[in-house]
């Protein structure tokens, strides 16, 4: 995340978006997440995977990502082009998995002020969401301080690579 600002359209969903919806069994089993992601959210919104565009923002209510530890759940969102996930609250494994992919997961109390299709500018590092469609600015909780170095590196894999290089 060299540039922490993303602009994209909002895809807005409700509470308890679970990993069986984000990564249904046939997609989760698939060896190629690039293929599997086409089934992302199929039980809830069959149009999502086909219509989502590079740079879009995923917005959910409470308990985003509840369920399995399968990291295909946030990986599918990332592969489909989602550049930030905003939610009222996150399920814990999904939250860690998302940040580990370098995909910002932001806790935002005011997600209901965002409508489907709104254009958002998300500054993950500052924790600010500008709703360009309504003119409102929403504040998110700051990302966990102890993860900033990892997030700045672009995710856990990149962070580990840097760490190993330093130690070599």
């Amino acid at each position: 995340m060299s540039d922490s600002t993303e602009i994209g359209r909002a895809w807005v969903y409700g509470d308890n978006i679970d990993t069986d919806q984000l990564a249904p069994i046939d997609s989760y089993k698939n060896m190629e997440p690039e293929e599997g992601c086409k089934l992302c959210l199929q039980p809830l919104d069959p149009d999502f995977a086909g219509a989502v565009q590079e740079g879009d923002i995923f917005v959910a209510g409470n308990n985003m990502g509840i369920g399995s530890s399968r990291e295909q759940a946030p990986l599918h969102l990332k592969l489909l082009g989602i550049r930030a996930v905003l939610a009222k609250s996150f399920a814990r494994i999904f939250y860690r998995n998302t940040l580990n992919f370098g995909l910002p997961a932001l806790v935002c109390a005011d997600v209901e002020r965002i409508n489907r299709g709104d254009e958002l500018r998300v500054d993950a590092l500052k924790g600010l969401v500008e709703n360009l469609s309504t003119g409102e600015t929403l504040k998110c909780e700051p990302l966990p301080g102890h993860l900033m170095a990892m997030i700045a590196d672009g995710g856990l894999m990149a962070h580990l690579k840097n760490k190993l290089k330093r130690e070599a």
Partner: protein, 425 residues
């Protein structure tokens, strides 16, 4: 400033020890040394293993890694076969000493083989890793990339969780099981009712429970959003572990302080608890079985890490003994491990289930994730002793799944509809 060690819960003591600190408190972010990492065929070699190889890092301590296959075993589907091939090849290439292929579901096979004991700090590449807490270990579920960090460094960061204490008082009545306790809690506090917390289970009813039953409680801490669940070890724990390869089991050290602070205590009156059933498609839709009585089911499935341990099979057998499944209802049983299957054959449990018309399936995750013969059909309504009933989990999106105890699932197999299992005892 001299730090004095304050009273701690069992979980806090384990985390402090793993972090090399005298004490920790809820909210602290600490880095823990991992005593044991477990991964399975889905998130393990094919994902975490591949990423580790990309990183080019060696495994920090091969003796602390256990690989188990369970998600895609015993399935002729080419992708499943391929995943098994990849898993075996990676384990062989790394010369891993602890590989348990096709023995059953990871959360059950791990303790069966003596890998868990009180006081350990463990991670598992699966969301139901809290199951390990039944043995007085602190065990959390993590994703595959997070596992790469553990494999490369032997460490992981943790936020010390607040504790939700569940006290189950009295004694559960006949036909009521640990599954009913945990479904009741899901119903009462909801699927995010213990977000980021550790659920510590206690009270007379929990003390009286077998290890199999305690595992059901900790397993479904995941369905409360909890980081993990834990039960303080006691003689029951020690006796169970004595039959495994675990050595140096210490139940005295690994106890919480009596005056340790907990964020919240919930009490369930065990004696008054009725069997619970969770309606589609969320475990929090739990209510007394009577609420859903009369719902016709096309399949009754005894399976998963939650609901197919030996005690679970015996519960089902107690209900179906001398009876036959309803004509229109498939009755499927997938024992959680080979060892359990063999025990059920040896003690006659399996015969009772088969005589009642049950189809015995291979051990493994199977129907829990909509794999294999127990996958629900289109528009089918089922009831399972598993832990999750989200849309599309156990079958097509049009299928519907209820969750219940092995007693309730077995009763539904006989009646062809959801019914109070206590009438069958």
């Amino acid at each position: 400033m001299a730090m004095t060690t304050h009273s701690m819960t069992l979980s806090e003591k384990i985390i402090a020890r793993a972090a090399g600190l005298d004490s920790v408190a809820p909210g602290d972010i600490v880095t823990c040394a991992v005593d044991l990492a477990m991964m399975h065929d889905s998130s393990g070699p094919r994902r975490a293993g591949k990423l580790l190889d990309e990183l080019g890092a060696p495994i920090w301590d091969k003796d602390k890694l256990v690989v188990i296959t369970d998600h895609y075993t015993n399935d002729p589907d080419p992708t499943c076969v391929n995943i098994q091939t990849i898993t075996h090849a990676w384990v062989a290439a790394k010369k891993l000493p602890h590989f348990l292929p096709e023995q059953g579901i990871c959360h059950v096979v791990l303790p069966e083989n003596g890998f868990l004991k009180p006081g350990m700090f463990c991670v598992g590449g699966d969301s139901h890793s809290p199951t390990g807490g039944a043995f007085g270990a602190f065990m959390v579920g993590i994703g595959a990339t997070e596992m790469v960090g553990v494999l490369a460094t032997g460490e992981i960061w943790v936020r010390v969780p607040e504790t939700l204490r569940l006290d189950v008082t009295g004694r559960l009545s006949a036909g009521v099981a640990a599954k009913d306790v945990i479904l009741k809690l899901c119903g009462d506090i909801g699927i995010m009712g213990a977000n980021y917390m550790v659920v510590e289970y206690g009270g007379d009813a929990v003390k009286a429970m077998t290890m199999d039953e305690r595992m059901t409680l900790t397993n479904m801490a995941a369905e409360l959003g909890a980081k993990t669940g834990i039960v303080a070890p006691d003689d029951t724990t020690a006796q169970w572990l004595a039959a495994t390869a675990a050595d140096g089991v210490d139940i005295k050290t690994w106890q919480g302080d009596a005056d340790a602070r907990v964020a919240k205590t919930i009490t369930i009156d065990g004696a008054a608890l009725a069997p619970q059933v969770a309606a589609p498609s969320n475990p929090e839709n739990a209510a007394d079985v009577g609420e859903y009585a009369g719902t016709a089911v096309g399949q009754a499935y005894i399976g998963a890490c939650t609901g197919a341990k030996i005690e679970d099979l015996r519960m089902a057998a107690a209900i179906v003994k001398g009876r036959t499944r309803a004509a229109g209802t498939r009755f499927m049983v997938a024992p959680a491990s080979n060892r359990i299957r063999d025990a059920a054959i040896a003690d006659g449990t399996m015969k009772i289930l088969e005589d009642a018309g049950a189809t015995i399936l291979a051990t493994g995750c199977g129907g829990c994730i909509g794999q294999g013969p127990a996958r629900l059909d289109d528009n089918m309504t089922g009831i399972s002793s598993t832990n999750r009933n989200f849309v599309g989990r156990a079958g097509p999106n049009s299928s519907k799944l209820y969750l219940g105890s092995p007693y309730s699932v077995a009763a539904a197999a006989i009646a062809g509809e959801i019914t109070d299992p206590r009438d069958f005892l």
